[in-house]
Symmetry: C2
Subunit: 367 residues, 2 copies
């Protein structure tokens, strides 16, 4: 079954009139963990206290939940609540939010679009996973409406963005913090799980503002995440894509952290792209190592995202700016409609699978 015992993602839910608390999705129901496991850490309105417990607790809890669900279901049944009775909330409290730029194809496409005639990749791109800090306070859960931002679109030009876009990404959620001054240890000792991310982007605002300090208002108005955080332990892994030059030192890969995740971007019900996460150039262990090599500390709830996932094929691109080549090649939708960038009322859903698992979806409607 979908959402079976090999999946078991964590989220935060509430029933009408009750407080939000932690649950695990199983089939079309949510397991209410605090009473099911007799553990008050799950009565919190976010995953953070549980995530802070660390890898052994994550593993043991997962085993315990599997045993409950595969054992005498009569005992567990009272704690399984049908999905249609619950509301899903932001699953974790975001501490810092970092967004990387780890797809070779995405970075190359953006380079070609923004700097035609120049070398598409910047000189540093193959030497380090380029990243920057985003706004943690506007990370919202799937389903939150996204209002089109206004801003400066050029010198003396102000108004609603005309190039509202999405970026399909994976996000990595940190459970175990570090002290300032000490780089992170093993990836799997710190990272609790994976979420789907839509990094909404206003390309016209971004293009005017981003030199020299990077994206700011073009991104900070909203970033959506999926309600379910899939434990790292559940994900099928692959060797990372070969890198040239092969990174040494702190960027040497810690294991096979290529992830066999297949994304789909759905615009108003139509699949418009199928980005393969396996095509990503920098792997998440390298992102974590880079983010902390300077001694920057981690906190429970830190979210770092991969950057747009774009594969080598045109129908594997993870943003509209790439899919429509900056609006010059509109996408055709059923019923004769076309799109360059997003219009009022458009709904974008990013969903993903990994082998037999589903990572669920992150969805948002403009307006």
């Amino acid at each position: 079954m979908s959402w079976g015992v090999d999946n078991l993602p964590y989220g935060v839910f509430s029933c009408p009139g009750e407080r939000p608390r932690v649950g695990v999705r199983y089939g079309d129901r949510v397991l209410d963990l605090a009473p099911a496991l007799h553990d008050e850490v799950f009565a919190a309105p976010s995953l953070n206290p549980f995530m802070a417990r660390g890898r052994t607790a994550w593993h043991d809890t997962r085993t315990l939940i599997r045993n409950k669900l595969t054992g005498d279901l009569a005992v567990t049944e009272p704690h399984l609540i049908p999905l249609e009775h619950v509301r899903l909330h932001m699953p974790f409290e975001v501490a810092d939010y970092v967004d990387f730029y780890c797809s070779l194809e995405h970075a190359s496409n953006i380079g070609r679009i923004f700097r035609p005639g120049s070398e598409p990749l910047q000189p540093n791109w193959r030497h380090l996973p380029v990243g920057y800090h985003g706004r943690a306070g506007t990370v919202v859960v799937s389903g939150t409406p996204v209002k089109r931002p206004s801003g400066q679109l050029g010198p003396g030009e102000f108004g609603p963005s005309r190039k509202l876009d999405i970026e399909a990404e994976l996000g990595f959620v940190v459970g175990v913090p570090t002290e300032m001054g000490s780089p992170a240890g093993a990836f799997e000792d710190h990272v609790f799980g994976v979420t789907l991310v839509n990094d909404w982007s206003a390309r016209d605002i971004q293009a005017w503002e981003y030199v020299p300090l990077g994206p700011f208002l073009g991104k900070s108005f909203a970033t959506s995440v999926s309600p379910w955080v899939t434990p790292l332990e559940a994900l099928p892994r692959l060797p990372g894509r070969p890198q040239d030059p092969e990174p040494g030192g702190y960027l040497r890969r810690q294991g096979d952290w290529g992830l066999d995740v297949h994304l789909e971007i759905v615009l108003n019900g139509e699949v418009v792209s199928r980005p393969p996460y396996s095509a990503m150039y920098w792997t998440p262990d390298q992102m974590l190592a880079h983010m902390t090599v300077n001694g920057a500390s981690l906190r429970t709830g830190d979210l770092f995202a991969s950057g747009t996932v774009s594969g080598p094929e045109p129908d594997q691109r993870g943003s509209l700016i790439e899919l429509t080549w900056n609006g010059t090649e509109p996408i055709k939708l059923p019923g004769g409609e076309t799109r360059t960038f997003l219009q009022e009322g458009d709904t974008v859903t990013i969903r993903a699978t990994a082998g037999d698992l589903t990572l669920g979806e992150v969805s948002g409607t403009v307006g």
Copy 2:
């Protein structure tokens, strides 16, 4: 007297064996607010709950404290604790941290240093206050030691930064949040007070990493703030510096938010620069308006900093990269020592006054 009733900055302190709580500095003592005002909001280990109450509460509380301190001191005396008996903590819990780039002279100097032969200012600089998100989790209180970061210094080159620098800034602390989708209202309705900021910077790491997404590891290892937050109400104000072109629309100035603050940078006991805040080009009301014009929400505890404060004179520059022109013109210190960038054991203190007020200091030692 210094730190008198016209000053009254807020901080978080603890006595040995006791929990951190909110106090106000008065002379060389700290007024223990929770018992003095019979208000449990001050028993919190951060200013956030009090800051969330809003402008009327801020004003009324300030009046109440002044009355206590100018009235029958016998009543208040038991709640005044000598500074030497207390430890000072991070005064507020940082939500998001944004760093701006609001000094015309600083931006011009950096442009000349990093891009010699080109126009020093980017085309957008006079049209908007350029800013970016920094790492909230590594904002620390004055006195926290700063470890020299390691990182990539160029292609294939890794090691401790050889260009460890400081940036003297003012920081603005948000008390009253906004909803996503709605720009902020009046500056003084949201911003609680002002702190001194040292935005430690590793210039070699920054120079290699920052294109195209902005500074990341060159800044994220540490940002220090002063322990005392001066209420906005206490600060002497000036008209903002004239702007060309004069900004309209959402960037039209909301009042006289030029601040008559004089900074000093002290390196190992020697004053090496005196940056005047009145020289800043973009005023803090413009920063706030810009940061939220796209609908990005504010949270209690958001910190936005001005960017390096540099005046027009060479001895008014707010960073070592400017003061030593990227290391080509070393600073002379007493005893025949010189400095380009920071060495192990160096102590940097940024202090400031505003009229008769002191804003205290933010200090840190490398190593």
